[in-house]
Symmetry: C2
Subunit: 262 residues, 2 copies
Amino acid sequence: MSQIKTIALIGSGRVAVHLGSVLQSKGFDIVGVYGRDENEAEQLAQKLKTKRIMRLSATLNADLIILAVSDDAVGEVVRQLSPQSKGLVVHTSGSVSMTIIPSYLRRGVLYPLQTFSRDKKIVWENVPFCLEAETDADVNALGAVAERISRKVYLLSSQQRKALHLAAVFANNFANLMFEFSEELLAKAEIDRTILHPLILETANKVLMQPAAESQTGPARRGDLETIRTQQQLLGERNALREVYDLLTREIYNRSNHEHQL
Amino acid sequence: MSQIKTIALIGSGRVAVHLGSVLQSKGFDIVGVYGRDENEAEQLAQKLKTKRIMRLSATLNADLIILAVSDDAVGEVVRQLSPQSKGLVVHTSGSVSMTIIPSYLRRGVLYPLQTFSRDKKIVWENVPFCLEAETDADVNALGAVAERISRKVYLLSSQQRKALHLAAVFANNFANLMFEFSEELLAKAEIDRTILHPLILETANKVLMQPAAESQTGPARRGDLETIRTQQQLLGERNALREVYDLLTREIYNRSNHEHQL
């Protein structure tokens, strides 16, 4: 296939709203929007000044059909698409294989690696896009779309994308949980949570300069067992924070070339 | 006491080097440097164009005596200080009580909340300083020193400082471990680690905008058990990453108002 010009959007949630808007702003023609939630779909269609697609099974006349639906809905939605649709069908999920899309459709993946807040503006040129498709022609066509939006376009297999999605759970969800724990400790001690903001920014910025393993500091890294004991006492017994503290402290300690293992 | 003008520096490691330099640049008179490691001490004395203090037990003629030594050395070092020294004696540790300093000395704490890399320049005006002292006069004098360096000065009790230090272990050391895990997963899948940098920055920046609990996303937050199962399979059985994944996933899941607990 040649260049992608027209796009049908399946989904009306956060990803669909953000992605639809930026694609339109880059000159793509959004020919229609489908959403299970009729109000949301109508709102998005109006926002993009396009028409609503009323049935999922309609034959879609678009070069690219983007499924911006939740991970667990992809499988159900693709099975309803008309085999008559000639466009390239891509989903936007990190954790779902490309092959969930039936082979009678031209298939691929367009996965933007970002957390989408409802209100926060997205700096699209910095959002990594991960692509996958079955033919070189489709990879190229999809790549041309992604490169119109972002400076960071990666070609990844389904297996690689799953590893990336898992890595993102650690780097985003789990790191955020650590920030949540720290805010709880501060609240309990009646300390303003903003006191930790410079350290949190510094922690993130350091990872951009060098591998995280080289940035590690703190009592477990130093092998400072006295501070570790003091902090365990402060946390108390049998609670989630203590359990997390013990596990992660042991992990850092055991990676740090101390004489014995914890 | 009135204004602090002269400072003696005990310690010659990273914190001593950085703190000594900024204090001197702000007009304080560094009257001497002591270090157990003679080479390091000599280097720092030359850098600060001051003399070395040869014995810890010498009577120190300075308004402020800063103990910039490791957490587990503070106790041993302060006991060697001469009771004749009239200056305010402060340590710089997050996890050590003020009262580790004997009561025959005027005592306090000056704790800069930051990770000190050897080479990276520190933007001091953003580094939170946590103060403690026994009299209002000493608090004020110490506060005047800290405010010369930083825009962020906090008065915290020893108990609060310990809670803060523990919170910093979560926000810095443990968050960094999450970044380390994610880099390992990427390396194994042969994906460039820089792909996650925009997400890591976004994760940190979000915490500056709103409480971390409100930023949480991902499979555990959504209650997406299928993705969780897929990711557990990807990690395999009985390894550190899997153990961390299960514990943190359960924790996020159970905080997320799903119908059942994990």
